[in-house]
Structures are given as C-alpha cells and as structure tokens.
C-alpha cells in the first residue's frame, strides 16, 4: 500500500513495524474467529488488508507469525505489569498493581488473549513451548515476595509456578467461556490467592481492601 503524498519520509522501519503489528492483530482476530488450525495466510492477509508478499516479507509461515504474536503479547504484558508495579511501593501493592495491569490487558485484547492463552496450547510444539516460557517470565516478579516473609526459603520451590498456573487457569476459563472482558472481576480473588502464601491471610486481605 503506497503511503499518501507528503508522508513518503516515513522510515521503512516505521512502516515495517506498523505492518508487522497489523499482521499480528489480524492473526489474533482470525484465530479467535475460526480457531488456529483453520486459519490460512490468505485469511490473515485479507483481514490485515495487505498483499500476500507483504506477509512473507515479515514472516516465513503461519506458525512463524503465531510465535511472533505470542512474543509480542508477552512483551507488551510484561511492559504494562512493570509500569504499573513501579508506580507503587511495597511488594504486596506491586503485585496487586501488576496483576491488575495484566487482567486489564487481557480484557482489552480478547483476541490476543485467546490466541496466546487458549489456542497456543494446541498450536504445535513450538507454540506450546513459547507458552511455557511466557509463564516462566512472570515467575521472577512473584518470587520477590519471598523477601517479604520471614519463612521465605521454607516456601515450596514450585510455589510461584503453582500460583502462576492457578492465575492462568482462571483466566483461561473465562476466555473459553467468552468472558475475557470480565476478567478484571477476578482481581480481588487472585490478589488474595497470590499474596497469602507469602504474607499470610490477614495481610493479604488488607491488600485486597486497598484495591
């Protein structure tokens, strides 16, 4: 697509990034509409309003595009989580803020959420591995909670994994039920669930009350 006159000075890099983002959004929307297995490159380019060549300038295959979609979503999610967390003080507040930002992102981008949280599990080995890695990338943030508790090193090694798994399962269920937009309703329960093992039930309740 030719840029309108007067905008030819847009850098190639800018246009490329914009195109890439459009293709990713199109894949997410097509995946939500028809399920990943049924999506074709033709579907994606039609939705994105680009030429087939443009798709292949950016990605080598549907799967390549899918993996890029996952990477994009994780990067964006982490960015929002960290941004929200750094605006407040105290680990319990940071966790609550980060979790809130995550749920907000899911509710604002239901197609992306469906693609990365539901469809990823059935989109092949590489996608499933990416999913595992993305789950892992949230664990260090949770693990910081161990510093805030006297019994930090006595907590089970797999605690963060289990908490992240629980959060994902609840979010996954809501998406499967077509209720991604309502996922922020889970925030109080999830903050309680995530904080209690580290700081105890009462402190967790207090943090929830401050939401």
């Amino acid at each position: 697509m030719r840029p309108p006159p007067g905008r030819q000075r847009l850098s190639r890099e800018f246009i490329a990034r914009h195109q890439r983002a459009r293709i990713i959004a199109a894949l997410a929307e097509e995946t939500m509409a028809r399920g990943y297995r049924a999506v074709t490159v033709a579907d994606i380019v039609r939705r994105a309003g680009i030429a087939r060549n443009t798709f292949y300038d950016n990605f080598s295959s549907k799967e390549d595009c899918f993996l890029a979609t996952q990477d994009h979503a994780v990067e964006e999610a982490l960015k929002r989580i960290v941004e929200a967390a750094t605006e407040v003080e105290g680990w319990d507040q940071r966790l609550a803020a980060g979790l809130g930002a995550f749920l907000k992102y899911v509710s604002e981008e239901p197609a992306l959420a469906r693609t990365c949280i539901v469809e990823a599990l059935s989109a092949g080995d590489a996608a499933q591995e990416r999913f595992e890695q993305s789950l892992q990338s949230f664990l260090p943030l949770l693990r910081l909670g161990r510093k805030d508790t006297p019994h930090g090193d006595e907590l089970p090694d797999t605690l963060e994994e289990a908490i992240a798994g629980g959060i994902f399962w609840l979010v996954y269920q809501r998406i499967v039920l077509g209720e991604a937009e309502k996922v922020e309703e889970l925030l109080p329960d999830l903050v309680d669930f995530a904080l209690t093992p580290y700081i105890g039930a009462e402190s967790a309740q207090r943090a929830v009350a401050r939401l």
């Binding site: 399920g35 599990l121 059935s122 092949g124 499933q128 595992e132 789950l135 019994h151 006595e154 089970p156 090694d157 797999t158 605690l159 994994e161 289990a162 908490i163 992240a164 798994g165 629980g166 959060i167 994902f168 399962w169 609840l170 996954y172 269920q173 499967v176 889970l186 109080p188 329960d189 999830l190 309680d192 669930f193 209690t196 093992p197 039930a201 967790a204 309740q205």
Partner: protein
C-alpha cells in the same frame, strides 16, 4: 484353534484376538481381549505414543489394534471420536485411583495427600497415558479440550470438602474460585513436567502440591507438616 502362548488368549478365541497389541497402552489385558472397542482405544493409545495424535491415522489405529477398518467404523465415526473414547478411558482410570486412595482415609488432609499421591503415581507409571490425557488432548480438537476442562473440574469437590467445619475466619478468606485456582495450579505443574517428558520427576512434586493445596484451609504450618507426611 491353537492358543498362542505369548498372548494368553484362551483356545476358543478367534485368531485375530490372539494378536494383541503389546502392553504399552496400559489397559488391563482382559479388558482389551474381550472388547473390540477397547482394542481400538488401546491401538490409538499405542499410535499416539509412537507418533503423536496429529500424525496418527485410522490405518495406524487399526494396525495396532489388529482389527479391520470396517470394524473401526462400526465403533467410531473418525479418529477424533476414537480419541475421545481413549481420553475418557484414561481419565476414568485416573479418577478411580485417586478416589480409591482418597476414600481410604478418614482425615480430609491425609485423604487429599493420598489422592495427590495416587494421581502422581499413576501419571509417573504410565507416561504414555499421561501424555495422551494431558498433552495430546489439547491438540485433538474442541470436543476433547472441553472434556479436558471438565476432567480438571472433577477434582474440585475433593478440595471443596476441606471447607467443612472450618472456623469462620478461614471460610471468609476463601473465595468461589479458590478450589479452581488451586487445581489449576496443580494441573499446571504436573502438565509442564509431562510436556517436558519429565514424568520421573512427578512424584517429587508431592510435598509441594500438598502444602499448596492444603494451606488455604489449615494454614501453612499444618499444611507443611502434612506435606512432609
């Protein structure tokens, strides 16, 4: 009809029943001998273990099951339906093991520990079935995924039973989604090990899983104590 000593099929059985699939399917031998449907399920499990569900064809299934293609279609419309049957057979076995262990204990905390132990033991001893139910199931189409989700939900009552008789302060702290989050976390830990082919590490998860699931009901100290059993 001469019995084939390598398969233990009785003399009166027709020859095709003596060609049993080897035991990697994990289903009891009697079960398989007596029922073509079960032989097909076993055949599917064999093929999935060998090449994954995506690459499995009906020809693969019937070859492993030593039944005809026509027989396959007498029982199933296609491979997806056969997979659903296999999935249900595995989850049924798993549920029986867990239930048996759980019901054998009087104390709820100990019962939960026993149930989790039985689950991990089953999955560790049957890596192919574990993979079928928890990994391959996710690529076998929306019907199976729904079954998978429903199977996970069947664990909720075991934990929810822990609410009985708890002090108000504890109950006030539990939410509608507590059991779902706990089971979700547990399933996540288990399935990640299975995906990574680390079924030998499953049983080592027992203390962590027990502590994680019991803590909201009995507190972390008591949960840790039971976990270390």
């Amino acid at each position: 009809m001469v019995p084939d000593p390598s398969t233990d099929a009785p003399a009166e059985y027709p020859p095709e029943l003596s060609r049993l699939p080897p035991g990697r399917h994990g289903l009891p031998r009697d079960f398989v001998i007596h029922n073509q449907r079960e032989r097909l399920i076993a055949g599917l499990a064999e093929s999935v273990a060998e090449k994954g569900y995506g690459a499995t064809t009906i020809a693969d299934i019937t070859r492993h099951a030593a039944v005809s293609r026509r027989t396959f279609y007498e029982h199933f419309d296609g491979k997806d339906e056969c997979f659903v049957a296999a999935f249900d057979a595995v989850t049924e076995q798993l549920r029986e093991r867990i239930d048996g262990a759980y019901e054998a204990e009087d104390e709820w905390t100990v019962a939960v520990r026993a149930g989790i132990e039985a689950m991990l033991g089953f999955l560790a001893s049957e890596p192919n079935l574990a993979r079928l139910a928890m990994v391959e199931a996710l690529v076998a189409g929306p019907v199976v995924v729904k079954r998978y989700d429903a199977a996970v939900e069947t664990f909720l009552p075991y934990l929810r039973a822990g609410r009985e008789g708890r002090p108000k302060a504890v109950l006030a702290h539990l939410s509608d989604s507590t059991e779902e989050a706990l089971v979700g976390g547990m399933v996540s830990l288990v399935s990640r090990r299975i995906v990574a082919g680390q079924t030998d590490e499953l049983e080592a998860l027992l203390p962590d899983l027990v502590e994680f699931t019991l803590a909201p009901y009995v507190g972390s100290d008591e949960a840790a104590r039971i976990a270390r059993g």
